[in-house]
Amino acid sequence: MKISGDAMTPIYMRIAQMLEDLILDGSLKEDERVYSQYQLAEMFNINPATAAKGLNLLADEGTVYKKRGLGMFVSADARERILKKRRDGAFKEMARQLVLEAKRLQIDKEKLIDEIRHIYESGAGE
């Protein structure tokens, strides 16, 4: 299995992002056990130390917690944490890129807002 995400991000971060995606879409539920570093290593053909780094990143952010001898588990408020992190970070960046591109293509503010409204209302992502 290949890890998604761009080459700009180190592997361990992409692992963390992938786990976050699984939590967001409900595949990993709160208080459910997350894959261990060894399982991740085998799944993605990477060094377990790299996988561990990704898990530790999530643990530092409070998205997962460690149960001594049992592994890492999804925190109760994991979804909210991830949503907040991405809203404040990656999403804002995406919006900035969109505005910059619109300006570059000489799409004015009204047109841009119309376009976004149109896409939102046409049921994209439902």
């Binding site: 592997i11 085998e42 993605f44 053909n45 790299t50 900035r96 890129q97």
Partner: protein, 299 residues
């Protein structure tokens, strides 16, 4: 404890110093990549670690012991390269059957399964194998030995892509199941970087740097665009590589970009690209800042 420690290690062959003052530590129970150009001193260093060569000056220790002529180290260390020689009186099957005498943890069942998987005939002798098959056989021995220090010197020479991928996977899984110190030298860093935990980069017999595989991924960035714009963005950063072309310049600089800098790059129309570990190692060890194009340029 460190698996390997070298201090001011020098190995000279006549006037030529293949290893020229190398001081480095390699952590135990990790997969470490020894990376460098041809002639950088990788093989010589590995042979010094394995106790095949004696230092001219300085020292190298394996788990605190001098590996040269040391049975204790020999019992717990396997060195796999394409010079690995086996008697022609033995077939492949007979060789693996005898390996447990030399390596007490040798997994005969695994070796047998791998021989089958690689379609290596147990009744064959090593001289009759193709280069790729011989590399595969040596790799099988190396993985199955479960030696505390397992060294592979360019283990995939002649192996086709599928065989290489299988080798890395088998090595990874066996390393997870039975941890050991693995040192792997290769110049195919691109396909290796997921497997490695640490990278030791050497050049001209000396240490350039040690970094973790993920540090390597973000060590440097590429900036492409007009000379002035790229120059502004690059600022005072160390330039690792420069390539001029008609419309501008491509610069590889150390470090990453803060969000404000990334925004500035976009405004300036400078393209920012990642620098993969294998390219990074080339830039950190190259002789001429211009690369091959400077040799190809016609005046």
């Amino acid at each position: 404890m460190n698996a390997v420690e070298s201090t001011g290690l020098v190995k000279a062959f006549g006037k030529k110093r293949a290893v020229d003052g190398l001081t480095v530590q390699i952590c135990e129970n990790r997969i470490t990549g020894l990376i460098g150009r041809n002639g950088a001193g990788k093989t010589t260093f590995l042979k010094l670690i394995a106790g095949y060569l004696k230092p001219t000056r300085g020292s190298v220790d394996v788990f605190g012991k001098n590996p040269f002529d040391n049975l204790d180290v020999s019992n717990n260390l396997i060195f796999v390269d394409d010079g690995m020689a086996f008697s022609q009186s033995f077939t492949l099957g007979e060789i693996i059957a005898e390996m447990p005498r030399f390596y007490r943890n040798f997994d005969l069942e695994l070796a047998t399964k791998l021989l089958d998987y690689y379609s290596l005939d147990k009744k064959q002798r090593t001289a009759k194998l193709s280069k790729g098959m011989r590399s595969s056989f040596n790799a099988i021995i190396g993985i199955s030995a479960r030696a505390a220090v397992t060294i592979f010197d360019e283990p995939t020479t002649g192996m086709e892509t599928a065989a290489r991928k299988d080798f890395y996977r088998a090595l990874l899984k066996e390393y997870i199941a039975f941890p050991r110190t693995v040192i792997l030298s290769s110049h195919l860093l691109g396909e290796l970087s997921g497997l490695l935990e640490d990278i030791v980069l050497i050049d001209s017999g000396r240490l350039v740097t040690v970094m973790s595989a993920d540090e390597a991924a973000t060590y440097a960035i590429g900036l492409r665009g007009g000379e002035k714009q790229v120059g502004e963005l690059a600022g005072e950063r160390q330039v690792l590589y420069r390539e001029d072309f008609a419309a501008g310049v491509y610069l590889v600089v150390k470090g990453g970009l803060a969000p404000e800098e990334a925004a500035r790059a976009q405004k300036l129309g400078v393209e920012v690209t990642p620098v993969e570990a294998d390219d990074l190692c080339i830039y950190l060890t190259q002789k001429d800042k211009g690369g091959i194009d400077s040799a190809l340029r016609r005046e």
